[in-house]
Symmetry: C2
Subunit: 278 residues, 2 copies
């Protein structure tokens, strides 16, 4: 398991968004998988703790990744947009075979990195085959449109979610996290009412999607809720109040546990091996 993932020449690297709360797990399979996708034991990583307002976050992940076999873990933590153009930081991003964005506030993370040299270096590295992972806010920020903040609850409502640009590593997905634990189906559905061609993925805590160009695989203790709004139609009242529920017909929903896969071309899910009809 802790070998080195095969790299396809010319293909972008894997994206590994995690639903949060992975480091509390006794067996951090999601972080272990990130290491594997980043080249396995001996790899050189960059951790970006910039989303977090807790000064210890970077050091904590450095320790976890070292324990899981990373040889070198650099912290890249620009305190403002000016620092995010620093050439030394860019050089560290260019050396890494895996880049990890911690939790915190995705809005702050995107505001500090988008359009800076460090932000561009992360995109360039990913396109060249480097794995980019992130947990919680660091998962949400990976997509081109992200959920910046929103309200909890299963029912979509007109004003319950605020979308804003993320780091733009994928335009196929809108990624939400702490999904089961914070009851976020409604805000994901509301986001898809605006962007119905994206696939919504709701990551439970301690659960990761390993995204490649053709789809993704589920890793971890929880499940991923996949919402495909391609065939759906959403309707709002003509003069909606922020509290008004939105009607959405014909969503396709998949709930996928560890080992299941999703094919983005056919938009079909394959259940985990070793399971049987319920």
């Amino acid at each position: 398991m802790m070998a080195r993932a095969k790299r396809v020449p010319g293909a972008p690297g894997a994206l590994v968004p995690i639903g949060g709360a992975e480091s509390g797990s006794r067996e951090p399979v999601t972080l272990g998988r990130f290491i594997y996708e980043s080249g396995g034991p001996g790899c050189e990583l960059v951790v970006v703790p910039t989303g977090s307002s807790d000064g210890d976050t970077g050091a904590r992940y450095r320790e976890i990744f070292a324990r899981l076999g990373a040889r070198v873990v650099h912290l890249v933590d620009p305190r403002n947009r000016h620092e995010a153009n620093d050439e030394q930081m860019v050089a560290l991003v260019r050396r890494a075979s895996g880049i990890f964005l911690t939790g915190g506030d995705q809005y702050r993370l995107a505001a500090r990195l988008r359009g800076t040299a460090v932000g561009r270096a992360i995109r360039t590295a990913h396109l060249a085959g480097v794995t980019v992972g992130g947990t919680s806010a660091g998962a949400a920020v990976l997509s081109s449109q992200m959920i910046a903040f929103g309200k909890s609850g299963a029912t979509p409502r007109a004003g319950m979610v605020t979308l804003s640009p993320g780091l733009g590593l994928t335009a196929r997905f809108i990624i939400d996290q702490h999904f089961r634990q914070r009851d976020r189906l409604g805000r994901l559905l509301t986001a898809l009412a605006t962007y119905p061609r994206r696939i919504g993925i709701g990551l439970d805590e301690d659960t990761a999607a390993v995204i490649r160009p053709d789809g993704f695989e589920v890793v971890g203790a929880g499940a991923i809720t996949v919402v495909d709004a391609t065939r759906s139609s959403a309707r709002t009242p003509r003069h909606p109040d922020r509290q008004d529920p939105i009607s959405i017909a014909n969503l396709t929903l998949h709930v996928l546990a560890h080992g299941a896969t999703f094919d983005i071309t056919t938009r079909t899910a394959t259940p985990p091996p070793g399971t049987s009809e319920a």
Copy 2:
């Protein structure tokens, strides 16, 4: 609006499950609709508060329904299965044009009524055209298989729901309530993994489905989450732990607000009139 609903000769009455917390609403449109479906102002109702352990529940609903225009409201509250065979109670059920089951504990309610003379009289009345409504536990109990209890959370897990027989007024639906407020998608999906031919309907609080033989209409402040598992496949680990997430692919999901309808034959949803593309 407070006229009398048209009755189709030979057809069963409407079923009006409500998601709970409807009486706290300033405009109890769901209860008003129940009155309308029961014949409108001047109707004679039976309230069954047997699910509730609060001795004031019956009197409270009697007052609300009187305020909304009911001419007579009888309480039918058997304290045990022996009383539920009482001929006077059965006679009251036979006179009513609407029967309402309050909230409380659906397991207790079903245990006290199933297979008794009062339970049979409610079924017979419904088949003869009488409207049967219920809120919270009183909504859940309407179906032939009901969710007796379960855990909250959006992700289905092997042991998160316990199903047991309800009053059997419909075999088409599995009805859950307080849906958005108590984060119950996971337990509804788990129930459908066992009964994939039923339609799952999750009622938000202060929201009702008005069910007729051909489908239902949405009434109230929240939304109804409709889960159609007909085309789905559910997979569990071969030796599942109660905590293991279940994988379910190809569910169809509709979230429907006030005025939307669902056709049970075609399994299609029609959005509310007066709304526009989101």
